[in-house]
């Protein structure tokens, strides 16, 4: 019958998805550079501690700010410790804390964002007003405030980062969820008598998951920068443990000798964040090419 013909003739011009192989071959250099930089630091964060030839606090040389040598490939620091070993161990703190804070921020943001899209308007307005106030506090001010009051243990630093970045994650997730909630498939689900929880988790969440993940990546980058900056100011992670930011601070006096003890960790943070940023950009812009 004629109805059938019409539909099947159209089926042939359904969008064709290219094979992933040819797609991958044409992905920009951004992706590869980002992937290798970020992959490298992720690897160090996971396995670095086992690869380190010396302990974090081991004073292995009586020369401070020593130049690179076979024994100490990145030289020694202001106390004569092995810079390479310290970096291998410190990376874990930098990456893990930021990752934890980014995941928590996005999870909190997405939860509240989805809630705001489905609850009565006045609740949404209330949540949004508070989040807007939190967003209006510049990120480092918020972190400084929390550190000033509560000090800087690892859990509190994570709390500070989450308090700083969860409101932004909320704003993104809320607008994504609102856009989806305005679509007709949500109206259909409501007319089907579905609960709010079902609509949030089954209908909306899968549609905002990708962008929320991208946003989480951005937040990871910002949180690495924030926590490193706090450490650099001496307000972050406290000795005897160190992250890359506090290594830069400790050895800042070596700067006028051009010591690797200050340069290497600083470049380490830079390559981590730049790599992550390139990777996120390459992954998220792949869709609209």
């Amino acid at each position: 019958m004629s109805t059938n013909n019409a539909s099947s003739s159209r089926a042939s011009d359904a969008p064709a998805f290219p094979p992933w192989r040819s797609r991958l071959a044409h992905t920009p250099a951004k992706l590869w550079v980002g992937l290798s930089l970020f992959g490298f630091w992720l690897f160090i964060a996971v396995f670095g501690a086992w690869l380190a030839p010396h302990g974090m606090g081991a004073m292995v040389s009586n020369q401070v700010f020593a130049s690179p040598s076979l024994a100490f490939p990145l030289g020694t620091d202001h106390l004569g410790r092995d810079v390479l070993s310290r970096m291998l161990i410190a990376t874990r703190y930098t990456v893990a804390m930021a990752l934890a804070a980014a995941v928590l921020s996005s999870a909190i943001g997405a939860t509240f964002g989805l809630t705001a899209a489905l609850v009565p308007r006045f609740v949404d307005i209330g949540i949004s007003q508070i989040m807007d106030a939190l967003i209006s506090i510049p990120s480092k001010m918020m972190a400084l405030l929390i550190v000033a009051v509560f000090g800087s243990s690892i859990p509190l630093l994570i709390v500070a980062a989450v308090a700083t970045y969860a409101p932004g994650a909320y704003r993104i997730a809320r607008s994504l969820a609102m856009n989806q909630a305005a679509m007709e498939y949500v109206a259909i689900a409501r007319c089907r008598g579905e609960s709010r929880v079902h609509i949030a988790l089954v209908e909306l969440l899968p549609n905002i998951f990708g962008p929320v993940l991208t946003d989480m990546g951005m937040r990871f980058v910002f949180i690495v920068l924030l926590l490193s900056a706090l450490s650099f100011l001496g307000l972050g992670i406290q000795p005897p443990i160190a992250d890359l930011g506090s290594m830069v601070r400790e050895n800042i006096s070596g700067l006028n000798q051009g010591s690797l003890a200050v340069l290497a960790p600083a470049i380490g943070i830079g390559t981590l964040t730049v790599g992550a940023n390139l990777l996120i950009d390459a992954l998220s812009s792949k869709h609209d090419d």
Partner: protein, 318 residues
């Protein structure tokens, strides 16, 4: 025709004020959540209960929190910001000493970065997809993620340590004449501009490209309008709102960046005062500095919103 605009502006002012009050509430709430007792903290663990009680009364800590908040808020409005816990000087005096230097640094940075960023953003948008755009895109993408202290370290290493052209630390008291001024401010401003320019340029580009993709631009091109005029005359007026917003958002980054830059270059500004206050747990000073930075930021956002409002004929004429 003017009254609806005034009403809209009034509404914006009102909502900014509400946000400012909420911000002050958040700042006060965080600082009064302090575990333990400020008085004990200040006096140390050997203080007698009487001494603690006396200090609590002096600091007003024996009053209930809402009353303390109102008292603090009243102080903020009248310029009585309390006394610094670490060196017994009035907070307002300390801030007054440091504020002008920070404002100067922020002002110069804004003057340098905004035109630069707008230019780069417009060039990227105009040459979208071509080599210039792709190159600028990768560079700015990398630059937004670079930690500011890395930029500062590299600049110091190159210009102060290796070339010896510029001083590694900013002694603003030693400025005599324009040459000194430039030498002192070159590196701090360049450091702040790196991330700032990249961020604003990217957002400007996106705002413009959003407009360039619209049907009215295609129509303009089909009317025989050249690409430069399309960007400047057609797209730009529509992109002013988002661009102003992007600039305001980026300047919030400036407030954070200034903290790092003042510390690393030993620049005697408000931000380094705040960092010291945080290290010393000098809460009255921290509160006041935080409030000042937030108020300044809110002011910027408000200005951006007003700019967007005035640029949009739909809002303007309705």
């Amino acid at each position: 025709m003017h009254s609806p605009v005034l009403r809209l502006i009034g509404r914006q002012l009102g909502s900014a004020l509400i946000t400012l009050i909420l911000v002050s509430l958040v700042i006060f709430a965080i600082t009064s959540l302090l575990p333990g007792d400020t008085a004990k903290l200040v006096l140390g663990q050997f203080a007698t209960p009487d001494q603690v009680a006396a200090l609590r009364a002096k600091l007003g800590l024996d009053q209930p929190a809402p009353l303390r908040y109102l008292h603090w808020l009243g102080g903020l409005m009248t310029g009585h910001l309390g006394v610094s816990a670490s060196n017994d000087m009035p907070v307002s005096t300390l801030i007054a000493q440091r504020l002008p230097a920070s404002l100067l640094l922020a002002g110069i940075t804004t003057l340098v970065s905004v035109p630069l960023a707008l230019g780069i953003g417009m060039i990227s948008a105009m040459y979208r997809g071509r080599l210039a755009d792709s190159a600028l895109n990768v560079v700015t993408l990398a630059m937004v993620a670079i930690p500011d202290f890395l930029v500062a370290i590299l600049l110091i290493l190159l210009f102060a340590v290796h070339l010896g052209w510029l001083p590694a630390l900013s002694y603003i008291s030693s400025i005599h004449g324009v040459g000194d001024f430039l030498r002192v401010y070159a590196m701090p401003v360049a450091t702040l501009c790196t991330v700032l320019v990249a961020q604003m340029a990217r957002m400007t580009r996106i705002a413009l490209i959003n407009e360039l993709d619209s049907a009215y631009i295609e129509m303009a091109r089909l009317k025989g309008i050249g690409p430069v005029r399309c960007v400047l005359v057609h797209a730009l007026p529509n992109a002013i709102g988002p661009i102003a917003n992007a600039i305001a958002l980026s300047l919030s980054y400036l407030m954070g960046g200034i903290v790092i830059v003042e510390t690393i270059f030993n620049y005697p500004g408000l931000a380094s005062l705040m960092v010291d206050a945080v290290s010393n747990q000098d809460l009255p000073l921290v509160q006041a500095c935080a409030m000042l930075f937030c108020a300044f930021y809110l002011l910027l956002i408000l200005l951006a919103e007003l700019a967007a409002l005035l640029a949009n004929p739909k809002l303007r004429t309705r």
